[in-house]
């Protein structure tokens, strides 16, 4: 301990109703602190029913003013909840807010212990640690940075479109970046939407057109973000605009090139592998933008050096085989990620036969099959392309709620399965079976839809399907797909022969979600979904300031929820834009360049890309605006050259001493 002026510390122990007081003797903790931590500078220790109430806060403010407190310790809940409350109270009373420490005696004591004596003793140690630490705290000032009013939205599905439109309509500029040739996302592939059976295209395409023509939206399709630097308020983003080999200035979207192109390719993306496209193509009629793209891998000219049929027939000379990928730099203040989901690969469930048995279809295949603009013009037929099924089995939870595949519920599959049942019934009159583990039809008008499908005569079997097989055991089964299942409500194994099986496949994170998360400096759950700042109270923000998430990239959800999240994220961005500047937490790491050995160990570790290395000086520097104060580099530095404000070695060591009650005068607990 250095020679310093004696600080005047106030300790405030919260009852939190009975949350803390039920397990911890709060009166004992307060009086113990006042008596035993006196030599540390504790001049007052109080307990109160709810410190976070305005009366509780006033108590602290009054003491700061009247007793001349220079440090405050509040023993209450986790700093996550009320640190800001008590810092504001200190600020109101004229004390630098960073001279307040929270001692968590709720999450770390009363909620995890039952023995009152032990819990009280531990609370005293936690309080002693906080007191020792707060003495080492230094006053800090928030950093203010201006906000660039432009926004980047990544992903042009319905969530991204919604977010872009909200911001653009508020008068601010949006860059909407989409990997595929057109915006629209998965929703553009669907025929009908549950539970209202709105035509998906009819409700989506007006939004797509609006996004495509909005003066405040710069649409960048067939493009990907390849680099992000900067921080909230001023991100610098590099977008790779892949060569379309079509001059957008000249192209009228007439479609002649596509018509004349001799190369037919299975469309794995938009048609879910169930239909064909050409090597030069627009994925669907209402695509936005209307310009086609040329698929270099399949184009005959690129493979063999001859053909150029598209070029010959293009009336405006828009085909340009010399086009190259372009890197475009844009500057934005905030970013919304709405990168969507991948469909679970149903071939992995080999007992369901997808990929082996022709008449087993995935949900996305069925969407295309039932879509009037799809490969069969909306005729629900079997793989031969012509036969209408007389009986159809729809299997729920494919790849979801299964430790062999994905452990989570994919949310949409029950309703999707019901929608399929309705469409099959309506269009073919076939007998329809739905196989489910639990029927999950929460939310407005969803269960009513279930009722409707029941009424239509769909046969529901409660049981996870064991297998789909073509090994018939008798005449009745011959030539059919047999669904073998335990009808758990009847308590019997059943074998149900059908003509067609539809797998209600689950959703999973994009295959590259972890890399994308790293690119933008945000984290993913173990499954690979982007992690929100708070699962209940902050669902569209992330731990990185200025980066927001919306739609299925955050977790499986249906269209209404995706739209709601897109709108919510845009509201958060507008709030930031309208503030014009943003205050950054002053909890930052900094490098003592004298001590830095230039080993670069910290360079690759920073999750926020805040560290740069100066080759000329052989030292590392941390950008304070980018640094989020996570402490990874501090812990990693072998030279001890990096320290974190708010988490200095002195503070940490003092807190440990306090926790171990080493700073006590020999009175004992």
């Amino acid at each position: 301990m250095s020679e310093k002026k004696q600080e005047r510390v106030g300790v405030y122990v919260c009852h939190c109703g009975s949350n803390i007081a039920g397990v911890v003797d709060v009166f004992d903790v307060a009086s113990w602190a006042e008596e035993n931590l006196k030599h540390q500078g504790v001049v007052i220790a109080r307990e109160y029913k709810f410190m976070c109430s305005s009366l509780g806060q006033e108590l602290i403010e009054k003491d700061i003013k009247e007793l001349g407190l220079t440090r405050v310790v509040v023993a209450a809940c986790s700093p996550h909840l009320h640190e800001k409350t008590f810092r504001t109270a200190a600020k109101n009373a004229g004390l630098n807010p960073y001279l307040v420490e929270l001692a968590s005696i709720r999450e770390q004591v009363s909620w995890v212990h039952t023995d009152k004596a032990v819990a009280t003793k531990k609370s005293k140690a936690v309080v002693a640690g906080a007191v020792s630490r707060v003495i080492e705290n230094v006053p800090l000032e928030e950093l203010k940075v201006p906000i660039n009013p432009n926004t980047l939205v990544v992903g042009g599905g319905i969530a991204g479109i919604q977010a872009a439109l909200e911001i653009a309509n508020a008068g601010f500029h949006v860059y909407l970046v989409e990997r595929e040739p057109s915006i629209g996302g998965h929703m553009a592939q669907f025929d009908k939407t549950f539970p209202t059976l709105d035509c998906s295209a009819c409700i989506l395409t007006p939004r797509m057109v609006e996004a495509g023509t909005h003066p405040n939206i710069t649409l960048m399709t067939w493009s990907e973000v390849v680099n992000v630097s900067g921080y909230v308020g001023s991100f610098n983003v590099t977008v790779k605009k892949k060569a379309r080999f079509v001059n957008e200035e000249l192209c009228t979207g007439c479609g002649i090139c596509e018509e004349k192109c001799p190369k037919k390719v299975i469309d794995e993306v938009f048609e879910a592998g169930l239909g064909y496209r050409k090597a030069v193509y627009t994925p669907f009629a209402q695509a936005v933008p209307k310009y086609p793209v040329m698929d270099r891998e399949n184009c005959t000219y690129f493979i063999k050096g001859t053909c150029k049929a598209c070029e010959k027939f293009c009336p405006t000379g828009a085909i340009d085989f010399k086009q190259e990928d372009q890197l475009i730099n844009i500057e934005v203040g905030n970013i919304i990620l709405a990168t969507g989901y991948d469909l679970f690969d149903a071939r992995r469930v080999s007992n369901y036969g997808y990929g082996r048995l022709p008449n087993v279809f995935t949900s996305l295949e069925f969407e295309r099959l039932s879509n009037a603009a799809g490969p069969t013009n909306g005729n629900i037929v079997m793989r031969d392309g012509k036969t209408t099924p007389k009986s159809v089995g729809i299997i729920h939870c494919v790849g979801s709620r299964d430790k062999n595949f994905n452990n989570y519920c994919s949310v949409i599959c029950c309703m999707q399965g019901l929608k399929f049942a309705h469409l099959v019934h309506e269009r073919t009159g076939a007998t329809v079976y739905n196989f489910y583990i639990d029927m999950r039809t929460a939310y407005k008008a969803y269960d009513e839809f279930y009722q409707r499908v029941l009424e239509e005569g769909t046969l529901f079997v409660r049981g996870k399907v064991a297998e789909v097989t073509n090994a018939a055991r008798n005449e009745h089964e011959r030539g059919k797909l047999i669904i073998q299942v335990e009808d758990t409500l009847a308590g019997k194994q059943r074998r149900i022969p059908v003509d067609m099986v539809i797998l209600s496949s689950g959703l999973q994170p994009r295959a590259d979600s972890k890399e994308v998360g790293k690119l933008f400096g945000i984290s993913c759950s173990t499954d690979g979904w982007f992690t929100e700042k708070h699962p209940k109270l902050d669902p569209v923000a992330t731990m990185t300031e200025g980066i927001y998430i919306a739609g299925c990239s955050q977790g499986p959800k249906d269209i209404p929820s995706s739209v709601a999240q897109g709108a919510a994220a845009s509201a958060r961005v507008l709030d930031k834009i309208l503030q014009r500047e943003v205050a950054l937490e002053p909890i930052k790491a900094s490098v003592n360049q004298e001590m830095c050995s230039g080993c670069r160990i910290c360079n690759g570790l920073c999750p926020f890309n805040a560290i740069t290395f100066h080759e000329d000086l052989m030292v590392t520097e941390i950008n304070p605006a980018l640094c989020q104060g996570c402490g990874t580099c501090v812990a990693a530095c072998p030279a001890g050259a990096i320290s974190g404000t708010g988490f200095s070695d002195q503070q940490i060591m003092a807190q440990i001493d306090g926790l171990l009650l080493r700073n006590l005068e020999p009175v004992g607990v």
Binding site: R401, G463, Q484, E486, T488
Partner: protein, 198 residues
């Protein structure tokens, strides 16, 4: 034997030891059974190639374990019909070691003498006796002893097959015995004094 448990369950009564039945079975099973994780989806009952001959599907048996229906579970022919094909095991979304639980239930049924049909337990016991005598299985001895006791009427129709097996040299008349039979018996005798509880 009185159907005590059943009545008690119907009356909504459960005893402490009934509630602990699931735990007991789980503890006695090799490996980590995950039995408590069952979500009653029926994958096991749907997968089972012999379900049509079972009193209860495996799924029902697990529900009955939860309900503390000890006697009914141990009387059920289900574990004895299990052919150990492991279809249910690899398909179970909760990774329950179903086949191993079936082995546990067989052992418990034998101890409690609660099985209904003695064919299967007798076969297992005869097999074990052969192994404990010779260290190897002795198919002719096993088959003749077992068939004489349980399927005497099938013997005539079995004869051609047995004759075929013997004449084709596929069923030796004399058993083979391992050299260190005593060592094996020491191991097995020690093992019989041990039980898996934790």
């Amino acid at each position: 034997m009185p159907q005590m448990t059943d009545e008690r369950v119907r009356a909504g009564l459960t005893r402490e030891e009934d509630l602990s039945l699931l735990h007991e079975v789980s503890m006695k099973t090799a490996g980590v059974s995950h039995l408590e994780m069952c979500i009653q989806c029926g994958t096991c009952g749907g997968s089972c190639p012999a379900a049509q001959d079972m009193d209860h599907t495996p799924r029902m048996l697990f529900a009955m374990l939860r309900a503390g229906m000890r006697e009914e579970v141990l009387r059920s022919n289900t574990p004895w019909i299990c052919v150990s094909c492991y279809h249910c095991v690899v398909r179970c979304p909760q990774e329950v070691h179903i086949a191993d639980v079936m082995y546990t239930l067989k052992g418990m049924a034998i101890k409690a003498k609660l099985y209904t049909d003695s064919t299967a337990p007798d076969f297992s016991q005869t097999f074990v006796d052969m192994v404990e005598t010779y260290g190897r299985s002795f198919e002719l001895g096993l088959a003749s002893r077992h068939y004489l006791k349980h399927f005497p009427l099938r013997l005539p129709s079995m004869t051609p097959m047995g004759f075929g097996m013997v004449t084709k040299g596929r069923m030796p008349i004399k058993p083979k015995r391992i050299r260190h039979m005593k060592q094996l018996n020491n191991i097995l005798n020690r093992a019989k004094q041990l039980e898996l509880t934790s």
